[in-house]
């Protein structure tokens, strides 16, 4: 059975050093990225479409050959200790990649077999994985007959059947409804708490903000930011809040120090700088007899930062 040592406790779950990838058509997908994912981390790898996230993931999982650089999983180099490194990784790719004609349980049993798990044990593990992901009832159904959300869960169950220590999820919740997405978040938090390191790529930045402790943003094949989530969010200089008012206003209120834009007669957008307080804003509103019935962020905080960082990177590229 596939069992690899995890090295000493100070060994990171994933270390990438100066990774380059140029495809045969000349496209440079990765231009020297370096990353460090601590063991037990829940790590977000974000970036716009075509930034290089999936290429990086495919190299880590041995699906794409790198042009140069080093990658190691729990201290095992993917070139020199390929099989030990592979034993430690579970991958949930972006696209469905299972035999749609096979019954669900066979997909898991076969995958377990590829990791050296005997058939009898593989069935036990498949049952456990399918039950964890609420798919046990569908065990004898052909994969093509599953709904989109079930197919996503099937890929997670398959990735976990050999009990990897590093789980890589490439947009695992794309196209699934909010209820399933929330239950997947709950499940991922649980396995992370049990010690599995997780790398997540997603376009739902709310998802990354809610789940991940550390983050890297990749753009045009380069890492443009790598930090922890709270540090990144604290960089936000201003937030725009949308206030829903009880009564209609005839003119925008005068709120000294705050930038106010009316959306309609009962809705205002107010920009609050980092050094300003919400108490100050509400005090001014109360003075003018304006009652606020509800309030929300105009934009997800991480999304706001993400857009800013990517724009800055674009401008730098244009100037250079």
């Amino acid at each position: 059975m596939c069992r690899s040592g995890l090295g000493s406790t100070d060994v990171s779950a994933l270390v990438i050093e100066n990774l380059f990838k140029t495809y045969r058509n000349g496209f440079e997908a990765l231009k020297g990225i370096s990353l460090n994912v601590e063991r037990g981390d829940f790590f977000a790898l974000l970036g716009p479409n075509g930034a290089g996230k999936s290429t990086a993931i495919s190299i880590i999982a041995s699906l794409v050959s790198k042009s140069s650089g080093n990658v190691s999983i729990y201290g095992h180099d993917i070139d020199t200790e390929k099989e030990k490194a592979k034993c430690l990784i579970g991958l949930v790719p972006q696209e469905f990649n299972f035999n749609v004609w096979e019954p669900v349980v066979d997909i898991l049993v076969n995958q377990a077999g590829y990791y050296g798990i005997p058939r009898k044990e593989a069935f036990i593990r498949a049952e456990a994985s399918l039950k964890q992901l609420d798919l046990w009832e569908k065990r004898n159904t052909q994969a093509r007959q599953l709904s989109g959300g079930m197919k996503r869960r099937l890929m997670i169950a398959r990735a976990l059947v050999h009990r990897p220590r590093l789980l890589i999820l490439d947009e695992p919740t794309a196209g699934v409804d909010i209820e399933i997405r929330r239950s997947m978040w709950h499940f991922l938090r649980e396995i992370n708490q049990q010690g599995t390191s997780i790398i997540l790529t997603t376009h739902y930045l709310e998802e990354a903000e809610s789940l991940c402790r550390n983050i890297a943003i990749i753009h045009h094949g380069r890492i443009i930011e790598q930090t922890n989530m709270s540090k990144l969010l604290s960089q936000l200089n201003a937030e725009i809040f949308v206030l829903n008012l009880k009564s209609s206003l005839t003119a925008p209120p005068d709120l000294p120090g705050y930038q106010v834009s009316p959306v309609d007669s009962k809705t205002l957008e107010v920009e609050v700088q980092r050094e300003q307080s919400m108490n100050g804003l509400f005090a001014l509103l109360s003075e003018q007899g304006i009652e606020v019935i509800s309030m929300r962020n105009k934009q997800n905080r991480l999304e706001q930062l993400f857009i800013g960082l990517v724009d800055r990177s674009k401008r730098q590229k244009e100037t250079s």
Binding site: S65, K84, E95, N97, G113, Y114
Partner: protein, 258 residues
Amino acid sequence: MNTWRIYRIAFQTIVTKEVLRFLRIWVQTILPPAITTTLYFVIFGKLIGDRIGEMDGYRYIDFIVPGLILMSVIQNSYANVVSSFFGTKLQHYIEELLIAPVPNWVILSGYVVGGVARGTLVGIVVTIVSLFFTDLKINSYALTLLVFVLTSVLFALAGFINAIYAKSFDDISIVPTFVLTPLTYLGGIFYSIQLLPEFWQKLSLANPILYMVNTFRFGILGVSDIDVTVALVIILGFIILLTTFSLRLLSRGVGIKD
């Protein structure tokens, strides 16, 4: 980590998956060759064969039996691997194997044994069908079995290479239609090359299938147009060549990576 144990279980998993696949669709994989060869026996063996008389000292139907059995083995070993491995590429579930600690030689041997299993099963079915038309007497069981297995391995390997290069369903049917079938029919299944003019006899010697059919016929009937030892060396040579080439393609990731 017991590496060899992982390899063994991974190999067994691929073979089991392959065998279950062709058994699950037996109407497409096992039944057609049985029907086709029955028709060959009825039309060529009985109806036309009775008028042809003897060939190399045997009734015509007895003469064509070894070739027809081997033709089924060739076609089915090839078809199994080419369609199955192309399917894994097309639906991307080749990635299940590529991310796992399975070396390329285990992947190759798993698919080849899967192809040999189908070739063997179909060969047995066709042999049983032939018993309704002839009294099959085996000259050398060892040689018959050896050629049967080696031929099956060789064409399973060829199917694997075809699948690696294939980008569409057309690509997996072009080689069987335009290369394999003509070479099989011109490989001495239905005639002895002694019947051909000298030029065509010499040209026939460039067809590798001729060596397999004649060696197999020698194993069953004890007659052959060519030297059996030379034929075995040629078959083994091709197996080594195609195995090396397949492993090289896999290690370079041709058709499956990037």
